[in-house]
């Protein structure tokens, strides 16, 4: 490596570099300034903590039936959020139900994310026949109405939380596959991919070092937006009786239980309803905030 002589006088004078490392931390700073996103994040953290700590919290047994204390209104002694038609403590059931709802959403999202990303990366990166085959399969999945497909899948597999989770995961694969594919396509057109090929890098190396690191940001946004929907979908399947089976309950089955007493005891349906809306709203505003923070089009510059 001795063929390098000293640099020329002019080219040696390089002044200090642009904007500095602060720029790398900018998306996080921008996210922190977004109040709605921070509110969403706070709600998610609180719900997650409550769900995780449910076994050690001083809560009533969520499944303990007390026929003498049925449909008690919120604020009753020993039942802050009231009781349901079997006299079970709604607060306790909400917190235990959050475990189920969150777990199903997170696991289903992980499955959909892994399979969808794999398909999206392969289709986007290799293009041609691979792309055609995968994308036509995805089109077939998309040809069915969303909820109908999930219901059909669960009916085929049999009702139950695990099967509901699998159904929700399958239904959401297309969402990840299509979005990841388009992210890969835009990265693939960048010249640094050509530069890597020209340097002799193989496909695996290019995918691992040049493609994946550059699509992480859009994937993070996808996940945070998607988990919100998954919470709704899990609740939806449980609501129609295809998800959580008694005595296990999640927010969807609580909603279904409360439905019959909507006139006499509206709190029985309102409490799980509010919980669902709040959590979905939290995931969506965090997702929107992430998207804004990571969107390069919002970087400054003007004329």
């Amino acid at each position: 490596m001795s063929e390098f002589s000293s640099p020329t006088a002019v080219t040696n004078q390089v002044t200090d570099t642009y904007a500095g490392r602060r720029a790398a931390a900018m998306p996080i700073a921008r996210l922190a300034r977004n109040r709605m996103a921070m509110l969403g994040l706070a709600v998610i953290v609180v719900v997650t903590l409550l769900a995780l700590l449910a076994p050690v919290l001083p809560l009533a047994d969520p499944n303990a039936i007390n026929t003498t204390a049925r449909l008690k209104p919120p604020g009753s002694p020993g039942a802050i959020l009231g009781t349901d038609q079997l006299g079970r403590d709604i607060l306790s059931r909400l917190i235990w139900g959050a475990r189920v709802s969150l777990l199903v959403a997170v696991v289903a999202a992980s499955i959909a994310l892994s399979v969808g990303t794999l398909i999206g990366v392969l289709a986007g990166y290799f293009g041609g026949l691979v792309d055609n085959v995968f994308m036509r399969l995805i089109d077939v999945l998309l040809a069915f109405p969303y909820v109908l497909l999930a219901i059909a899948l669960v009916s085929a597999l049999g009702p139950g939380l695990i099967n509901a989770m699998i159904a929700i995961a399958i239904v959401n694969i297309s969402f990840y596959a299509r979005n990841v594919r388009s992210a890969v396509l835009s990265v693939k057109s960048m010249e640094y991919i050509d530069a890597a090929r020209a340097a002799g890098a193989g496909h695996l190396r290019i995918i691992a070092l040049d493609i994946l690191p550059n699509i992480i940001a859009p994937i993070v946004v996808l996940v945070s937006l998607n988990i919100g929907w998954m919470v709704t979908e899990t609740a939806g399947l449980s609501f129609v009786g295809l998800g959580a089976q008694p005595p296990t309950s999640d927010w969807g089955s609580m909603l279904a239980d409360g439905r019959r007493f909507i006139l006499v005891a509206p709190h029985a349906i309102m409490m799980p309803g509010i919980a669902i809306v709040l959590l979905v709203f939290a995931f969506n505003s965090l997702g929107d905030g992430l998207r804004d923070a990571l969107d390069p089009r919002l970087r400054e510059g003007g004329r």
């Binding site: 002019v10 400054e300 003007g302 004329r303």
Partner: protein, 328 residues
């Protein structure tokens, strides 16, 4: 040169707010444009030349914090937005680097030109259409009679720029601001468009403010030139004088950087280093860190743009001293 300038800019300052702090894109610009002349604003990216153009029309996304823009004796910065709107496209027109951004993709080109005519000149629909075809012929759009019915995407880049120019001159404005009008075009097409601008000026006596990074374009087209660096005009004068005998070290550096006419092996004389980054504040003369002639006081005192004789101005302490010495 006629005594009254049509555009007279004094102490214009435009700033942007960014994560890096306040960016002084235009930092105290003085500039005169006389009727019927072509003035070039030349500078590299980030020099503030486009921000200046957008500030004149009050279309900048930044904030104009000081100065005045006298157009035909009236300070544009005092006008109400409604009055400004009447002026834009009528008395002052602007054409852009990418005509696609200024043309409506969903409207036929003839109609687009016609709309401007109907708004500003209150022409009937029929008269406007006829005038549009006439204008497209005047800018040598091939097959203009038929092209009136084309959408922008059916035209090539050069043809779109012709349409943009036709639209720009439709109300025979007093001033046409052209922001890098040929940068996106191939050289042979660029030559056509430059010819067209020059021809248009001759026919309509419209003054042109031409923003460009290309010294060649300035040399071919402009009567006078202002060289911008870090938001300021560092030198201005008649094009022939500035190119023959540049006074500011930055202008000297720019001219030394072009490979034109240089033999192979004869090294170029580039300007060392990088321009200040947006928001960076350089003490003293902003060019001093890259200036091969800079002396100690250049890093402490910021020079003013001073008259150095023969209608020429330069913003350099070294020139200032020469001027003082010859005066005393």
């Amino acid at each position: 040169m006629t005594p009254e300038p049509i555009l007279r800019i004094r102490g214009l300052k435009t700033q942007f707010q960014s994560a890096a702090g306040v960016v002084r894109a235009v930092d105290g610009v003085d500039l005169d444009v006389y009727p019927g002349e072509i003035v070039g604003i030349v500078g590299e990216s980030g020099s503030g030349k486009s921000a200046l153009a957008f500030s004149i029309l009050r279309l900048t996304t930044g904030r104009i914090v000081a100065g005045e823009v006298q157009f035909r004796g009236q300070n544009l910065l005092d006008l109400r937005e409604a009055e400004m709107e009447k002026l834009r496209g009528d008395r002052i027109a602007m054409i852009f680097q990418d005509p696609m951004t200024s043309l409506n993709p969903l409207m036929r080109v003839g109609k687009q030109i016609g709309e401007a005519l109907r708004y500003h000149l209150r022409l009937s629909r029929r008269a406007a259409t006829a005038k549009a075809a006439e204008l497209l012929q005047a800018v040598h759009l091939p097959d203009a009679r038929r092209r009136v019915h084309d959408y922008p995407h059916q035209l090539s880049g050069g043809q779109r720029q012709r349409v943009a120019i036709a639209m720009g001159i439709s109300c025979t404005p007093d001033l046409l601001i052209a922001d890098e009008p040929t940068t996106a075009l191939d050289v042979t097409i660029q030559a056509q468009i430059l010819n067209l601008i020059s021809e248009t000026r001759q026919r309509t006596n419209t003054a042109v403010l031409l923003i460009t990074h290309d010294l060649g374009v300035v040399a071919q087209l402009c009567d006078r030139v202002a060289v911008m660096y870090a938001g300021q005009v560092v030198e201005q004068g008649r094009t022939a004088d500035v190119f023959a005998d540049p006074q500011h070290p930055y202008t000297i550096g720019l001219l030394g950087s072009t490979p034109h006419g240089r033999q192979r092996g004869e090294p170029l004389r580039p300007i060392p280093g990088q321009p200040p980054r947006p928001g960076e504040i350089v003490a003293g003369c902003p060019f001093a860190p890259r200036c091969t002639l800079a002396e100690e006081h250049c890093r402490r005192r910021a020079p003013d743009l001073i008259h150095i004789g023969g209608g020429r101005h330069a913003r350099c302490l070294l020139r200032t001293e020469v001027a003082y010495e010859s005066a005393s």
